[in-house]
Symmetry: C3
Subunit: 474 residues, 3 copies
């Protein structure tokens, strides 16, 4: 199924989430027309029709998004909110969002309401602040809102249906786009996404600002462990251990109901089977790590070891890197590291009465995305090209193919041209840098001196080399 | 009064705090001359004279600074120290500094002495390290020093007139320019100021390094709250609540005397009425937030909820953004967020026996300054152009007028030119980026391939679009 | 001795650690040949021979590294591991590494084994991830590994020869290159090294993730101080105080044996006398700071106040800055600041049951490396040119000489050229910046307007000035 979908996406060439919406449907139609005339068999036709049908509600539902643009504003807003709900798992699909809301309602009405309010107000606030319409439409301003809304309700000690909670909920949700935008200003320098950092910051802020001993907004009491937990390996419950995998996926939204987790798995599968597989894998890795570090069984059953690994495994495994075998291994390593980090952060945060939130995921995924290697098998997609794993893969393959074709055609000529361009921009960059450091005088002269000694070819090689070395220097 | 001053500033065109001191007094004189001949009435003349008189000691006292440059070194140093004392509130005015020192002396002699020593040694250290003379003369190396000196005295548990305290005071003050310079190296990448971060870092460092249980430099004992505070709404004291507004302004310098706070308000009004208004507004917002989050009344009366909001409200409301209605609302939001953050940070820091210092202000103001929006009504001034709210506003208005005039004149021609420039720099930037990522080969060929397919106009649009998207991507 | 070595290094012109390995031995040989024919006396010849002999095993042992490149892979790996062991102290010398391992074995067999395993697996992991071969060969991926291995063994509460510990040890060591690479992506923007940050992060992560109350990997119990320590100045032991200097150097590797510290001093002296002197100086400064801040004597005797200062003093005193008298004073200031910071961080970390690790060194050294000054006597070497203090100094002197010669030759012409280049790149940079901020339209027009008013010479001055101001703005 995954292969079939994948092939379909390649034919379709659905648009990227964020960039160049230059769609050429005429070409597509032509291709499909040719396919039809060539293979007129009934089975093929129905299969093609099925794939076409699937493409309408899988992936990022591009056709639907196009159609939505001409609809009533409130309907559009609903689309954005649903996409926002799914974007927590990096899924840009309103159908997945709808299913996720169904899962939340199954868990708890009050939480679901808070989540909806959070997503709604975060999206509205982004509109007020005139953030990028494309990002809003992709739900990228909503996913922090839903998490803020949900988790503020989950960790409130005032019980369900405490309506005053909606006030800080709305305020914090409306702060989401501000914090998102601020963090994006920083992270964009390294071409990194902000992940759920705004949610982590804002929920921790609310919880620690009020605390357990607050009259208006009391929080549940979280305390650090200060004695040896009672762990008897014979008491382990294998059924509960297996159930912790879907529970771990549910815990991404703060839900401990395994059925809710199962519904979330379905919603992931609809949009992207690769994402779905990595989510399950991540949750399993987290569970195993919990056992390895001798965590209390209750924590593992409750999915606390899983949810960060789920997100980390999805992010690295095909979402921001193009999925190859090496990247798959990297994703598993990242999930392991994330589990370790999760335990560490939970212990630190508990001193302040705080939960770990998704800090471990954010920090581990950012670390692994900052990694630079010499191998081409680990290819980080430019942020503007990130869509969903299947499409990212298609982009990566196309790029590799073009690269190969290019190399065969104009190998001798290109190398020289590239060197010249490289050298020019390199020197410009160095000059900019020198100015920044306010030491232009001294070093400029050095450069001039050295330039006179070596001829141009040598300079080229040297500059390139020093640049590579500088970046690799630890 | 505010409008009158404002108009005056526009006519005067006082020099920016930091940049281009190319002053053209001849033009000014001419303008004034014309004004005088045209309207020879006595009232107008005296009013103009009054405005001119006011301009000598309001704003950043540029004329005085010019005059000072030719004076004896120790007198200059005194000017820098006084400006440093006022720069805590973003005011570059020696008269305000003098009044602030008066307020400090009213509060406590020993504290005032420590503050003076701190400012002095911070400025001297900056001179030793050959920092920018313009920044030193504007007091930008002194304001962290005064806070370090004051707060180390305030939080010392050894009582007043414990002379040994001057030793760490001098050491920490002299570290200020080093930490300032280091932080500026980082923050300048985002065109952000360092605010009072050096003060926060150094005072927290001193306090946590010594702690309450230290033989040489004991600190006051600060402990986390661990039970429900006793809050009875009927016991609220409205008079004290109102008094908490000036007290909050006084707490910026660690002073709990409402008269001292009042004196500070006067010193702000002298330099910039907009700053003064936002200071009072910020303190009021902080007080209300404290009530909303059910803080103990004593904390609110003591001004602990106000001082961060004061600074945040000043910084956003006209100082680093040009003051428009939207920015005014943003400033109030920032003050609210700052109050929330203040409570959170105070709770976290109390675990280590530390006060919140001005961390909440720094973090909230930096977040709001990193915000990027699509609207032109929120205009962040380039850091080198920041002076004081009235003048910033004049700069913004002039810029907008010129922009409009420009657009009317050469609308059709410009658009094309801009596109070309945009495209060129865009491509250069992309090349630089590719080199940085060490993946130039693969992507370069991609670009070449794609470029051949689309014509130039399309590339322009595409590049611009992808750039905007990339920056807005969350 | 130091001077003699230094002169030798200048003649030899050994290669930089990281960059341009274009070696021209012919020139060197010629120089040496001339020297020999000119001064034929026996004494001089034997002295020269001695210097040549010393050069083979001092400094970064460049000749040996060249020879190693043609050897069997496992032998190369051993070389890298030994260099990695010494790189903790910024020494790129396998002989020093060997002596350091001898010191570790003297301290504790089990710790030494863990250190070796850590270095080995960190290096192997870097090879897997295809990191820069030059950096691996210089041991730059090993030094975090040895510290991770050693300190995980030191802080384990399970006793020596608890073989299961090797599992997290290997995992964390293999994470080192990933974290190193990620941090380098960030730090390289400011041309900063990552120091031992990966070690700090990973060991703290392991310790806090497991904690004292863990069944599998229990850690030693570290608790915050909560009462007045009993310090009687008459009980001070001067012999132990002096012994704390070598102990402080030993504590860099977690060793409390003064003989081990002594062996480390020897290993430093072999490679670079300047490094050795600053190590001893740093340890002494740390000891004095401990007394000044009235730390418990036991902590001082145990070397806990020394090891961070040792590293900070080495890093600033000649390693990343060229050693001048001002830099020497800066190094002492940095050691003082580091001691202060060490106390602060130890107090904070103890709340989480963590040791201070080398966080104080990393933070203080990074702060001092980010410092920008107007004086040329504080010259920060470009990261790619950093080797060891003696050679850095030679580079600095050569640069200064060339600069002077250059200035004398083409003083009048150059100034103009430089201005033009400066202006061009300045404008380009501004344009890039404006685009980034998405406010290009408005400001572009402003610039155009202003440009028309002023002539080119004025623009030059103005741009340069505003740039300098902007960077120095605090």
């Amino acid at each position: 199924m995954s292969d079939a979908l994948c092939a379909n996406f390649q034919i379709k060439e659905l648009h990227p989430l964020m960039a160049h919406p230059e769609h050429n449907p005429s070409q597509e139609d032509k291709m499909e027309g040719q396919a039809k005339t060539a293979e007129a068999s009934c089975w093929h036709r129905s299969w093609a029709r099925f794939l076409k049908g699937v493409s309408y509600f899988s992936g990022d539902m591009e056709v639907f998004a196009k159609w939505m643009e001409r609809q009533f504003f409130l309907l559009q807003l609903l689309d954005w909110v649903l996409r926002g709900a799914a974007q927590v798992m990096f899924v840009n699909n309103p159908l997945s969002g709808l299913i996720i809301f169904a899962g939340l309602i199954l868990q708890n009405y009050w939480w679901a309401l808070n989540g909806f309010v959070g997503t709604l107000f975060a999206t509205i606030s982004a509109l007020f602040l005139q953030q990028s319409r494309g990002a809003i439409a992709a739900g990228l301003y909503g996913y922090n809102g839903i998490l803020v809304g949900l988790l503020m309700a989950v960790f409130s000690n005032a019980g369900d249906w405490y309506w005053w909670l909606l006030l800080p909920n709305i305020f914090m949700s409306m702060m989401c786009p501000i914090v998102s935008s601020a963090l994006a200003s920083i992270n964009s320098r390294w071409d990194l996404p902000v992940f759920t950092l705004p949610f982590n910051i804002l929920v921790c802020l609310h919880m620690v600002a009020t605390g357990h001993y607050n009259h208006h907004f009391p929080q549940v009491l979280i305390q650090p462990r200060s004695e040896l937990p009672n762990i008897t390996w014979s008491e382990i419950n294998v059924a509960k251990l297996f159930r912790s995998v879907p529970v771990g996926i549910g815990q991404v939204y703060g839900c401990d109901n395994p059925w809710t987790g199962g519904i979330f798995i379905i919603s992931l599968f609809i949009s992207s089977p690769i994402t779905c597989a990595h989510a399950v894998l991540g949750s399993a890795v987290g569970m195993v790590s919990g056992l390895a570090l001798s965590a209390p069984f209750e924590d593992i059953y409750f999915g606390l070891w899983g949810y960060n690994c789920v997100l980390a495994c999805i992010a690295i495994g095909g979402m921001f890197y193009a999925l190859t075998w090496r990247v798959h291994l990297l994703a598993i390593t990242c999930a392991l590291f994330c589990a370790y980090l999760g335990s560490a952060i939970a212990n630190v945060m508990s001193r302040f009465g705080l939960p770990a939130c998704t800090w471990p995921f954010c920090l581990s995924a950012l670390t692994f995305l900052l990694l630079t290697t010499g191998t081409k098998a680990i290819f980080k997609l430019p942020l503007a090209k990130v869509t969903y794993p299947e499409k990212n893969l298609a982009f990566y393959w196309r790029m590799k193919k073009q690269e190969k074709a290019e190399k065969e055609r104009e190998d001798p000529l290109k190398a020289v041209n590239e060197q010249v361009i490289l050298n020019e921009t390199e020197q410009l960059k160095l000059e900019l840098q020198q100015m920044e450091e306010g030491k232009q005088e001294g070093e400029n002269e050095m450069t001039t001196e050295e330039d006179q000694r070596v001829n141009i070819e040598e300079t080229n090689r040297q500059n390139t080399f020093s640049e590579v070395v500088r970046l690799d220097y630890v």
